[in-house]
Symmetry: C2
Amino acid sequence: MMTGARLSWKEVRDRIHQRILSGDYAPGDRLPRDADIAEELHCARSTVQRAMQDLSDGGIVERRRKGGTRVRSDPVTRATLDIPVTRTEVEQKGARYGYQLISSKTAMTPRSVTGNFELAQRKEMLRVKALHLSDGRPYILEDRWVDTTTVPEILDIDLTTVSANEWLVQNKPYSRCDLRFYAESASPESAELLNAKIGDALFVIERTTWIDEAPITLVRAQTAPGYQLLTRI
Amino acid sequence: MMTGARLSWKEVRDRIHQRILSGDYAPGDRLPRDADIAEELHCARSTVQRAMQDLSDGGIVERRRKGGTRVRSDPVTRATLDIPVTRTEVEQKGARYGYQLISSKTAMTPRSVTGNFELAQRKEMLRVKALHLSDGRPYILEDRWVDTTTVPEILDIDLTTVSANEWLVQNKPYSRCDLRFYAESASPESAELLNAKIGDALFVIERTTWIDEAPITLVRAQTAPGYQLLTRI
DNA sequence: AAATTTATTATGTAGCTACATAATTGTCAA
DNA sequence: TTGACAATTATGTAGCTACATAATAAATTT
């Protein structure tokens, strides 16, 4: 990684970050202009620019034209999450993946669903319930609505052999995705399917996707007790 | 945004993304080399490089030297989360922020804590319990361990007036942060403090931070019933 | 003194070149 | 056939220039 003469933009970034960490620049302080840092570190302004841009993306500093760069005085913890296809998630843990379709039928969406999609009107969609298994044990219970106007092909898919999760993600890329995380008590139905006790605290991942403005799917994925979501390294 | 003659790297990115979305390039397919795309779109290779890098960061494509660029065949949902200081979070919702210190005393860390910090030995740390309020109602109950070797100053801070959350984030920047999300049933103690019922499903945010290799703090933040974490737009 | 316009300044972006690096492919000898 | 080495190739990075853009500061007018 260019350990010799020239500094890479990542090295520049880390040096500047280090100065912030060590207290050289405190929250709210203004940093020197890119050009001055470049001169000091004997590198090009474009290198400093890339480094600063990365620190800005990471929520470490704030940059404004003419105003310069300053250390964020209201720091946020910014994290990146990866949510893979459930099959992959299970297999990456070295477990055997299993899948069961519970039900699949068209129905009128409740208001909570149209609300999530930011639709004014309720409409008919395909509702698919399915269970993902890890080494034969319940892992994730998903309750999904698929917009059959946007994705009519879903009606021809045999969802007993391919999960909607997998099929959609492989065949219907989305341009927008909203995620929502919360906790919920297990209903009698969920508890039975997830092999949990009624009232157990379940971690829920809710995902809504669109292609342009058109809804694709909304999933409520209830995870089995003990499930944890970690930030990627 | 340079709508005229030249294409910005974001426009290039969006065009390539669009082709993937429309099915021109399917998962697993190899895209043309940067130079060819540059020629086709009448822009510089560096512009395509920036666009591709962004798509790669976003988990849309995979790039390998010599191997070229291909559409990820195992797509992941990648999301960015912002977790602000609790005060800011409350105030951004237009609510009045409140804070109560419950307890603060040094104690021997249990194994679960040292495990999170990746420490071999148990050690004495400061344990701080506090309640964050939104419009006077319980919002987040935090149970925190602070490494007094790394952050000895914390012992001189009056934690009845300043929350450890705020003081640490303003004064002790971290170089590494691990996050963990899960659901948990309310214990009798938590239920009372959070104004919830015993056994209610609570959403928990667990955060561990380090400066270089040295532990700073580990917080278990139990949120009040109804709390939801959303991805930033 | 307030409002408007103009100049200044720091960051943002695009284009070009040159070279570094990692993978793969091809060649040749043992 | 296999192993080692060399050539090729596509991406990655750094440096430079030129100009765009936004925000502030200064100057000017009302």
